[in-house]
């Protein structure tokens, strides 16, 4: 037996248990992630659900060289609107939801009372475990015009002449989406940055103190550069989500729950549009085409941002 093969088998045997766990993970990935990808083919076909799984391959190709559903989506009257909403909400979340946990983690790191720090940290990431359904329930309870707490207080104090319509209003959806996203995910994402901060060599801080550096200087010259790698990785991943779920993947949930037939011009995102016109109306090929469009753009964005990051900072995920 060739020496290299012998070495390989020997190595395999010595790690048999670990290799089996890894193989199990690969098996799950193959079954639930890669094999189902074959369904993408129906984006190019006139698929009917009565044909079942076999229909993925036996259904006829659509007209227009298989791109009928894509062309239908691009020429849909709502295409421009959903694209604008998806990008607009995602960019705003990137601008607010991304720096907020970094700033929060930096602030937490500066706290000296460890008990207080632990309490704040725990309280801050609890909203992450609340589902968006409950979050919407809270939003409705506080903001509805009939019985909402906010409107009643403001009207009773004489600050408003009548309740303000937060929920069925095109101009407030983006703000609500961003604020609720920041509130819900701030604490959770800050855990990652806190973990990165604790990985910085404490000796650097001591040396800086000796040199007379202030706290702000330490943050600027030691902490931030120390977590740069983590920030870049997460930024690349967040950019990849611009077209799909947004940071944290919340775009669909928010449109589903907080979107309504009054604020759809600003709340309808690509994901929800695919769900409404594709899944609910049994246009599965169309829904797949929309989803594929989203995925291609997202992968392209991840690739571009990774390349840019490597060029500019030397850091990247691939």
């Amino acid at each position: 037996m060739p020496r290299s093969k012998n070495k390989f088998l020997k190595g395999l045997r010595s790690q048999l248990a670990l290799q089996m766990i890894a193989i199990a993970g690969l098996f799950v990935l193959a079954v639930f992630a890669y094999i189902p990808m074959s369904g993408i083919i129906i984006a190019f076909k006139d698929y009917k659900s009565a044909a079942g799984f076999v229909g993925f391959f036996t259904s006829p190709w659509t007209s227009q060289n298989g791109f009928k559903h894509f062309i239908a989506f691009f020429s849909d009257p709502w295409f421009g609107r959903v694209l604008k909403n998806t990008l607009g909400i995602s960019v705003l979340k990137l601008l607010f939801s991304f720096p907020a946990p970094i700033i929060f983690a930096l602030a937490l790191n500066e706290l000296r009372l460890s008990k207080f720090k632990r309490v704040v940290q725990t309280v801050s990431y609890l909203p992450h475990f609340i589902s968006w359904v409950v979050v919407y329930g809270l939003v409705f309870t506080f903001l509805n015009t009939q019985t909402g707490f906010v409107s009643r207080i403001m009207v009773d104090l004489g600050l408003w002449s009548e309740p303000y319509n937060f929920l069925a209003n095109e101009s407030t959806f983006w703000t609500l989406a961003v604020i609720t996203d920041v509130w819900k995910e701030l604490g959770w994402w800050s855990i990652i940055f806190l973990a990165a901060i604790t990985g910085i060599d404490p000796g650097l801080y001591e040396a800086a103190k000796v040199d007379g550096a202030s706290r702000w200087r330490c943050v600027w010259h030691i902490t931030l550069p120390g977590i740069k790698g983590t920030v870049v990785v997460l930024l690349i991943l967040a950019l990849g989500g611009l077209f799909s779920g947004g940071m944290g993947g919340s775009n669909f949930d928010q449109t589903y729950l907080m979107g309504n037939n009054v604020n759809y011009p600003t709340s309808m995102t690509i994901g929800y549009y695919a769900y409404q016109t594709g899944i609910l109306n049994q246009r599965y090929s169309y829904a797949t085409a929309v989803g594929l469009f989203q995925s291609v753009i997202s992968v392209t964005l991840v690739g571009l941002s990774n390349w840019s990051s490597k060029k500019l900072t030397g850091e990247g995920i691939v």
Binding site: I23, S49, P77, Q146, A168, N260, N281
Partner: protein
Amino acid sequence: MKRLTGFILALVMIAALVSGCSSSQPASSSSTSSGSSSAAASTSGSSDEEVTWDSNSLSWKQDTSPVTYSLFLDISWAPMDVWGTDHVSQKVTELTGVSFDVTKAQDSSHLDMLMASGSYPDAIFVYRNKHKYENPNVSQPWNELIPEYAPEFTDLIDPSAIEAATKDDGNFYTLYTHFRDESYWEDPDLPVSYGEPDLMFRDDVMEAIGSPKMESIDDFYNALKLVKEKYADYTPYLETSLNNSALKNWMGIEFEYSDFKVDENGKLYMPLRNQEQMKEYLSFKNKLVREGLMSVEGLTYDFEKQKQAVLAGKVFSTAAQIYDVDIFNSGLNDAGSDLRYTALDTPLTYDGSVQYAPVYASAGFAGLYITTACKEPGRLIRLMEFMRSPEGDRLTQWGVEGADYTLNADNLPVINNDIEWKVRGDNVWYFGASFMVETEKAMVPANPEFSQVTNLMYAFKKYWSSDTSLSKCEPLPETEESETKTSIQTLWTNNCNIIVTARDDAEFEQRFKTFYDDLERLDLDGYISWAQEIYDNAKDK
């Protein structure tokens, strides 16, 4: 030792993963009938005996041994999702031997997902998109099952119900619940559904503004203005996403039951395409919004939120179904309030006359489909024979007599509301329900001292007519026509309230134009031509 432990741990994890992968099969055909698969169902002992719903020779009575089928229940509002925990299902099993492993719909797309995966349960009970299940790839035709397993059943069914359910391939895959044929609509002494759209008004506020007459759309508008002046913190008019038909219908535009109406020459047209009429309707609602007479937020409410708003005591008028006036008044009564609502018993006039002329164009409400996955359909079709009988109909819609209801002097059911709905189980397993039995239940309200629904059900009947040929103009799913239909629905759903909430005339005109430009881009002429052909064929039959 460590290596062995790690090896065993790895094996256990893999086994857990693999078993997790394979356990995701949905309700599979699990019929375990014992001796019921005889193709020759017993008919009457003597061929001359007339078979009635009470005959002992009915096929369903010949074998009542235990059998279990899998069922998908597309009734997401049902209070329970397990067979055998309520009086009705227990009684059905006691009488027929049939039980179900139930999967209840989690949301509107649950069944679609299940069907797309090709994993059919033995039976599906569904009210939406019924046409999706009416083909031999999905369901077994009843016209083949009945002669084989319950031949006398055909003689007991109303032929018009069979005709209404028969598809172009000559098969019928179910018999619809709550079916009403054209003779029903021609009889003025029979009521409409308690889901009839209506407007209702707060009695005390109406009195406070001088009890103005409420006969026309203009009277309605004027009353809202008076309320706005007198009660600054009130919502003069609340219209929701689900209950938004009354004003539209009364202004002469109706497309709830069908996309089409028929003109005097028998030609189909789409009311939605009448831009002049639609502009009048939408601009009226836009005026209500801009003058603060209609709640914008209310346009997004579901029924629960609407009820909450009404019970909060600051809503003057609201659009709802006629049954809801009793629900609202009961709720107010239970909360210790003496506020009450009164629903109109005639539609408001528009342009000096009653424009309301709805056409019933539906073949029924729901249907139970026996899928191709069911290997032993005999007991299921026989169960349907029981369900369609008066005994089964009353059991599944009223409950168990003596426990869940008692009969009053008029032989109408007085429901025992001290027993929770999920314990009674009525109106959940109603696979063979008739409209009359449902109506009889609604005629004996829970709070008779202030109930209005019974009178209202009769009051609106005279405006209705029917055209069951129109019910045939429903496109099959995943066809070009169904894509056009769903595109129309999506455009209307996504745009109607956007137009209504325009901030000024220019924005209204721009949004209205955009909607109709988008609508007319669809192949509406092709859709109408397709429907015309179907309608003409149905009429000829």
